[in-house]
Symmetry: C2
């Protein structure tokens, strides 16, 4: 048998401990599948005393992960610290500088510094692997980069954030409001104390940055992802979506259009019968459309110790077997900046909810504004009555350029009878 692959783990949260546990539990199986053992020789974390549910007596302990990345007796450094800069970045750079492979679950780091890190790794002849960074245990990086390698990808879209999907699912199932469900999710540990990375779409945007680059072969460009979170989604929107035959999901969408690449994160309505509408709770799913393969969908748990450890170990086995790929599908030196589409050029259908005073003439004013911007209405729902009170006025709009809708809504917002900023939710997949 070939000599063992030695790994050192930086960061011993649930994922780090889960990875060590997996390698221990399945040592024989992994050894049979790799033809060699994978052993953890070193770990780095702050608190040595904490019980992490796995024995860590065999490993050399480092208080400083960067020191470990430089000094550990290891072929691979597994970076599970997180964050787009600081220690995580230093660990990866130091590991590469010392000729060690890097396995990371850190989407923020890759989204922001992926181009540079890939270049460094490729120059050093080491692997930078990151299956765990997107969609947890779903092997979506491998599917896109290797399984669908023969395809020109035209679009991908995914439920990339389990926290948002859990909140939207629970809002739908219970009819409760966003803030109420968020508070519960925080209590249950499904949402962070500071939930903004998740619910404002930042986490999904990090992941989309990676997937978009893999799909289309351009440089990663997190700053170019236009993203919008789910804070403004009301229980009423969720109920109306169901009534209209849709379900609201936070999607990350990357699409190749005649105007360039669209790379966006937003809550949108998807048809109830679509596979992605059925993906509920903490599950993630990614739909990919390729020119030869057609549509394919990948679904599974998007986070958690087990699924993430599963992805980390898949990367380790690739390294153990000497399987490697250009980091983002093509060599980093060949990746060009993307030409991004103007978001205003987005062609789509839309759901619009207005809060209006229940007075004669409101609908005439609203529809005139839409007509003037060449936006055509598919359906109108105005059911509740509250003479001189405020009622929702809901419309779905036919496919049109987003800029037209934006202009129309700006005019509508100025109307004296419209009491709140209009809410727009894009309709996808129709």
């Amino acid at each position: 048998m070939t000599k063992p692959l030695k790994i050192a783990v930086a960061g011993l949260g649930t994922v780090g401990a889960g990875t060590i546990k997996l390698l221990f539990d399945h040592a024989d199986m992994i050894s049979a599948r790799c033809g060699r053992n994978i052993v953890c020789t070193a770990v780095a974390a702050r608190n040595r005393a904490k019980d992490r549910g796995v024995s860590m007596t065999e490993q050399q302990w480092f208080d400083d992960p960067v020191t470990m990345a430089a000094q550990a007796d290891a072929d691979v450094i597994v970076e599970l610290i997180g964050g787009s800069s600081g220690a995580a970045k230093a660990v990866c750079e130091t590991a590469i500088a010392h000729g060690r492979h890097v396995v990371t679950a850190n989407k923020a780091l890759l989204a922001v510094h992926g181009n540079d890190l890939a270049r460094l790794a490729e120059d050093a002849g080491v692997t930078l692997a990151y299956e765990a960074s997107v969609a947890g245990g779903i092997p979506i990086i491998k599917a896109l980069r290797e399984g669908l390698v023969g395809n020109k990808i035209s679009a991908l879209s995914g439920i990339l954030n389990g926290t948002c999907n859990y909140i939207l699912t629970t809002m739908r199932e219970t009819g409760r409001d966003f803030s109420d469900v968020l508070a519960e999710a925080q209590q249950l540990g499904y949402a962070e104390a500071d939930p903004s990375f998740d619910i404002d779409g930042v986490d999904a945007a990090h992941k989309l940055t990676i997937l978009s680059s893999l799909a289309f072969g351009h440089k990663l460009d997190f700053a170019a992802v236009k993203s919008e979170g789910i804070r403004h989604i009301s229980a009423e929107d969720i109920r109306l979506a169901g009534e209209l035959g849709y379900r609201i999901k936070l999607l990350g969408i990357a699409r190749s259009t005649e105007h360039g690449i669209e790379q966006r994160v937003y809550p949108c309505m998807v048809p109830l019968a679509s596979p992605i509408a059925q993906v509920e709770g903490v599950f993630n799913a990614v739909e990919v459309v390729g020119d030869y393969v057609g549509r394919s969908v990948y679904e599974g748990r998007g986070a958690g110790a087990g699924p993430t450890a599963s992805a980390v170990v898949a990367d380790l086995v690739d390294i153990a077997l000497g399987r490697s790929s250009p980091t983002f599908g093509i060599p980093a030196t060949k990746m060009k900046p993307a030409v991004f589409a103007d978001p205003g050029k987005h062609l789509g259908a839309y759901y619009v909810r207005l809060m209006v005073r229940d007075k004669p003439g409101v609908l005439a004013d609203v529809t005139a504004a839409l007509r003037d911007e060449n936006v055509s209405i598919e359906s109108v729902i105005q059911r509740s009555r509250a003479p001189d009170g405020v009622v929702p006025l809901v419309m779905t709009l036919h496919e049109t350029e987003e800029a037209n809708v934006t202009r129309a809504l700006a005019r509508i917002e100025e109307l004296e009878t419209v009491t709140e900023p209009p809410r727009l939710i894009r309709i996808e997949g129709v």
Copy 2:
């Protein structure tokens, strides 16, 4: 740039022509992703004159694929002839004997001779790749063998035959009978003139043999797959399934149980809300349950020139980049025969449809037979009345060992009031 990877294609049906077209259409993209070109240097097929929609003037032409496997100027032989023996087998053996890699879409060949071929390839130090053999363009082989490599798999189940899924979907949507829909599928080219391989579950059993071996690490054993097709599914069964909250799907299921491996193909009822119930028409899907990753689902087009070519090219790129794996996840020399579970030990719920004379006492006789075999009834539907005529009597049975149900149904079949053999459909995923 490294020198080109040269391939020779045996069999120029739609998949062979599709593969050559893909390599031509996407030559630049593939070259960027592999760091080298993939060129087709030779082809073998019987009819040289046929228009296949792609130019084949650059390739050396062989009338005999086995001669090509021995003599072509190629690193890889792509076997797209089909069939579990004859030319396909000889092509693969000859290629391996000449130190060439093999890429095949041939599930029948692998299901029957996969153990020997893997051994030959591994001894020769060449790759035997077969992503295209199961579930068309879905990279399920790669997902199982590489993406989920860190998991102990407990179960997998899949819609593995697009023809059956198309027939069952159409029966449900139109209310028409099996034979009627089959005839139409044959006219549309979705079913073969001799459809028995598809509709009797043989094709799904070939694919399940491969997936089961990958999931559990045992030798391939096609003869041990117990399979049952969809000929006996009636329009009435489909309608009743819907009424009971299920959809009927032909599933291939491999499961690790305390009695050994279950490896079976049969039509079954799955809950309407399950992801697999939503997979319709010619789509395939595979659900895999691993101990760390949990449940994950892979869905896409299960057949056709484009998806299959996509899978063939994924294998070629792996070879071009020098990425290899033990053929079935662990070296062929280490694969042991599986211990299979006695099918009678299967624990499950069941749907049973009897055709009975509408006479007093029928239900008493039927329920007595079930009671005597310790089978307990969950629900009974006997709605239509036709005094002294024949009516359906439908029951769902609580989870129990299949042997008990089989014995009870044998007794029920003997009843003078029961006019046809009882129809049993297993209920899965509850």
